[in-house]
Every structure is written in structure tokens, then in C-alpha cells.
Symmetry: C2
Subunit: 333 residues, 2 copies
């Protein structure tokens, strides 16, 4: 474990202190604990867009703050859900006139704590809606069983754009639901990470092996196999994504995400193979993004996220916006 | 070596193909080989700002393209200088009315090939100026002996801003020279990388050891020492940076850069320690940035870059701009 930290259990709060050093002009901590809100929010937004989740996925989730994206975020320990308190506090601090939309990955702890926050806010007269991100096709047959991975950024972007158009809570939730319904991801794991508070890596994987379908906390995927070339992996991942739900004639956005220790070079090489694999199957690629959007500490691996554009979603994903941290999300369609 | 690639020697060109898939609306390859230029360049720029260097440092150097930054970039093999040909081609393609400024790190191969390109362009009647980036204080006593590391981005930003103000070739070169003169960096290495074309890591370092002053190709630093805490490393690095040249009352910009497999969490934790170390020594911090701006494949480590603001430089670094790839560079001062 070659990390440069101080007291391991202090790392998450020290990270937040560093974020305030870098971006204290743009974001502020809520009173209490581990909630961040944008200092300047769009006056057209009647609905706050709130996301969050465990730490260790940097630049997610605090990096998803920014104009056109989320207004507020709640942060948990490494690979652990935030408590309900920062969720409540970010919403109360923003006091959005039409309430808040929660967008987060479908994990038990997040569901429990965001759910509790929704109840507490309802008691205080603040309405909320929730859209669970369920883009990981390797994690279950039914969307309700599926975990959220890199597709969460797509859902946050759609919600942010709908909110920036002055949409109601129902409108913003509908935009987010549509984005999630049209988004599918799958990952491939190459090497584990080690939590700063643990003695052992999160899992073991032989040097020449890969885990097809691995989740962003190292959850086992569909199969382990000898490590293949980028071209072969591209073909396998496209096959699995399109088998799940073909995009029905819509052009797609492709997002290639790298985990912590996989290089941007590998992301672009994979992207260069994914696009022709899609085109050969009659799927047109309208936008492509590559970078380290959501990580798992220093785990090695990549994921591919396809979003079938069409309807309002193409407009929402092309709307202006800027992420607080992480690679650019360009607005051009 | 847990990489996902195809034929190892094809990785650099496959990477460029992927960049065109993602960003072909923003950049184009020059004819021939490994030069990239922005499709839309500021009409106010009379001088092209050209950077470049070896691959393996992604998002550098192609990521330094963008409005407010570089117009053109030339790319070499992994950890190897670009040849003179793409340098010449990017300049000829842009045909800047007042010539081109070259900004690149002080490495022998880059000096030779950019130098040859400058001669070829002079023969064609296109003037150039060169500013070598020499920010790495661990790499020599005299600036002329020093290598360029993360400070190159600061120099490119200053040059881009001066060019956007309509500056002459002399003006743009002066802005870049001033940025380089006011910028100092130092790194700490925690683990090596392995080139995709090699069987062994670039160097060895025990699990509990660190290399203070390591360069971005794994060049040995000032000393090897047992791995310390982030707080201790922050104190050591600030000491070394300020010993080299105190910023003489100017406020500073701090940029914390992570190499490929070091997490953004560690970058923010280190930043949170660097800032008070500076403040305790009477150095005010005006801006702070953290992220993966220049890497060494999957090497682990971080670097800290201080730039003493003042004069035109504060304005140049705060000017609008957007990087093609890599973390945001916010414009607010």
C-alpha cells in the first residue's frame, strides 16, 4: 500500500479540508459534517440536485458539483454511504423552492441513509424525489438489482440540465429517470486496491487475469478470464452492453472511465476500439468521453458506459456545465 | 504490468486515434505524424503556442491544448521526445502571422528536435522563440541544468494568455519566461511504472521507501528515505521549494499534481498540509489546484509546484481557458 496520508481514519475529512483549500471560492461545507454545496447556484433552478456516496471514488462524488451538474453532495467514509445528516443539511442550506432530487447509486447503505433524509425533510415540509442509478449490467438481471457506477454522472448531468431549464421536481426527476433508463455500463477489473484502514487488498486477481463485470468497490463480475487485448475486451464489453438493451436506433454517447491506476492512454486506446465495435453493429456514436470520472482508490480497470440519446436527453447532455473536479465534460453534441 | 493495450508499440498511435474519437470536433491531426492542432483558434492570437514531449504523461501534453492554453502539440513515443516533423507540421498548419512560441521541458531529446524544427521553420521564413521549462529544483543547482515537470502547464497558460491579448512573439515569450522564472516544483516518488514495451519496472523502491525529488520519468531525486506521513512530506517539500528561491512577498499559486496511480484523495490531503506550511512561513496562497495534470504512466507519487504571482503573471494565470483533457484549471484568481 503505497499511499501518502496521515492518520488513516482522518483521510476523508482531510481530503475535504484540501478541497476547501482549492475550491473554497466555489463550494462550502455545511454545518456539521461532510456536506458540500455550491456557493453560487443557478437562480433558474427551483429544484436542488443532490448526489453523494462513499469516498474513495474521487473525483466522484464531490467532483460532480458544478454549474449544470449537482448543487449539493453528501460524502461518506471510504466505500461507505454518507449518513443522513449531511444529506439533510445540504438541502436545508440550499432551501430550494421546489424541493430536491436525490441521485445516487443503488447500494443498500445509500438507499437507507438518503431514504431517512427524505423522511426527515418531508417532516420539515421539503419535498424530495429519488432516482436510483442502476447502470451496471453485470450486477443483476433486473434494473432494481443493479448497482450504480459511472452512469451516475450522466444522470446527474440530465437532472442538472432539466433543473437549469426551470423544471419542476417532477420534471427534473423524469429527466434523471430517463437518463438512467437509457444508460448501461460494464467494467473490467485488472488489479485490486487497499483501503487505507485495511491490511490487505480488497480482492486478489492474478497478474494475467481480468474480472469482466467488476464493480467499483471490487465486487466480483460475470467471469474471470485470462487478460485479453484491449481490442478483445472492447468486443466483449460491447457485446454484453448491447445484449442487455439495444439502443433501438438512437445514436449513443460513449464514456470510457478509468479506475485509479489505469492510465488515460489505456482509456483512449479502448475508446478507439469501442467506437468501431459499435459502428459495425449499426450503432452511431454521437459523443465520446474518456477519463478518470469515478475511481476505486488505486484499483486498476476501466468501464464503458453507453447512453442512448434521443428525446430530451440529447439536449440535456449537451447543455452547458462544468465539473468541480475530474476530466472535462464538453457541451458540444 | 496490468495494462489493457494491444500491440505495445502501437499504443501511442492508438491513443491518438482514441483522442480523435473523443475530441475530433476540437482537434485535428496534422498530415503525417503525431501533431495535433486546435480546429478553432483565437483570432486574436498572432502567435501560436506550441508544446509537446513524450507520451506516457497523459493528460500531458495533448491535454494542454485548448482555448487560453496551447494551440498545437507534438507527441513522441513513451518517455521520448517528438521528432522535429510534427513540430514543423503543427506550425505550418496554423501559419501564425507572427510565428510560434515553443514551450517544453528541458530534456536533451526535446531540445534537439524542437531546435531542429526551429531551424527548418526559420528557413521557411517562420520565426520561433523557445522557452525551456526548468521548474524541477531537485534536478540541478542552476536553472539551465533543471528539468521541466508540472510547471510546464503554468508556463503554457501564461503564454496562451499573452497570445490571447494579441501579444507579439517577444511579448508571448516574455510572459512564458516570466512564468518559468517564478515557478518551482519538487516531486516525491512512491512506486515505479513499467513501460508497455519493457519487461521490468523503471526503477525499484522498497514498499516503505520514498524518493524525494524524483522526476517524471523516475529520475532519482535528492534522497531516499523511509516513507513519511503526508504532513511530514509537506513540510519537507515546502522547505526545499522555499530554500531555492523565496517568493519575495508575492502570493503564490500552489499546484499539487498526482502521478498515475496516486489518488486524488492523497492530492487533496497533501494540499491541505502544504497551504498551512506556506502560511506559517509568511507565504500567502492565492490559488490552489489539485489533480492529475502530468503523470508517468502508472507510477505513484505527487509533486508540488509553487508559482510566485505578481506583475502580469497573476492576470495571465487567471485569464479564461479550458484544457482539452485533465482536471479543471479554474480562471478565478
Amino acid at each position: 500500500m503505497r499511499k501518502l496520508l496521515n492518520q488513516p481514519f482522518a483521510a476523508v475529512d482531510e481530503r475535504l479540508a484540501g478541497v476547501l483549500r482549492a475550491d473554497g471560492d466555489a463550494v462550502e461545507l455545511t454545518e456539521g459534517w461532510r456536506g458540500l454545496v455550491l456557493r453560487v447556484r443557478s437562480p433558474r433552478r427551483r429544484v436542488a440536485v443532490v448526489t453523494g456516496g462513499g469516498s474513495g471514488h474521487e473525483p466522484a462524488f464531490f467532483g460532480q458539483l458544478g454549474p449544470g451538474f449537482a448543487d449539493g453532495v453528501a460524502v461518506g467514509n471510504v466505500f461507505a454511504a454518507p449518513s443522513s445528516r449531511p444529506v439533510v443539511e445540504v438541502v436545508r442550506r440550499m432551501a430550494p423552492p421546489d424541493g430536491a432530487l436525490f441521485v445516487y447509486g443503488n447500494y443498500e447503505g445509500d438507499v437507507m441513509n438518503f431514504g431517512l433524509a427524505a423522511e426527515l425533510l418531508a417532516d420539515a415540509g421539503i419535498p424530495t424525489e429519488t432516482v436510483l442509478v442502476t447502470d451496471d449490467v453485470a450486477s443483476g438481471a433486473e434494473p432494481s438489482e443493479r448497482r450504480g457506477v459511472a452512469g451516475g454522472l450522466v444522470v446527474v448531468k440530465a437532472a442538472g440540465a432539466a433543473a437549469d431549464e426551470g423544471g419542476s421536481l417532477a420534471d427534473v426527476a423524469a429527466a434523471a429517470r430517463e437518463a438512467n433508463a437509457r444508460t448501461r455500463s460494464i467494467g473490467v477489473g485488472l488489479a485490486p486496491c487497499t483501503l487505507q484502514t485495511a491490511a490487505e487488498p480488497t480482492f486478489t486477481l492474478a497478474e494475467d487475469e481480468m474480472d469482466v463485470g467488476m464493480g467499483v468497490h471490487g465486487e466480483a463480475g460475470i467471469r474471470r478470464a485470462p487478460r485479453a487485448s484491449s481490442a478483445e475486451v472492447a468486443a466483449q464489453l460491447v457485446e454484453l452492453l448491447l445484449a442487455d438493451r439495444p439502443p433501438a436506433g438512437d445514436p449513443v454517447q460513449v464514456l470510457v472511465n478509468t479506475l485509479g491506476s489505469t492510465t488515460l492512454m489505456e482509456a483512449y486506446v479502448l475508446l478507439g476500439r469501442i467506437v468501431p465495435e459499435l459502428e459495425q453493429r449499426g450503432v452511431a456514436v454521437a459523443r465520446a468521453l474518456a477519463g478518470e470520472y469515478i475511481t476505486s482508490l488505486e484499483m486498476a480497470g476501466l468501464s464503458v458506459t453507453l447512453t442512448a440519446l434521443g428525446g430530451d436527453l440529447a439536449r440535456h447532455l449537451a447543455a452547458p456545465g462544468a465539473l468541480l473536479a475530474g476530466p472535462p465534460w464538453r457541451s458540444a453534441a
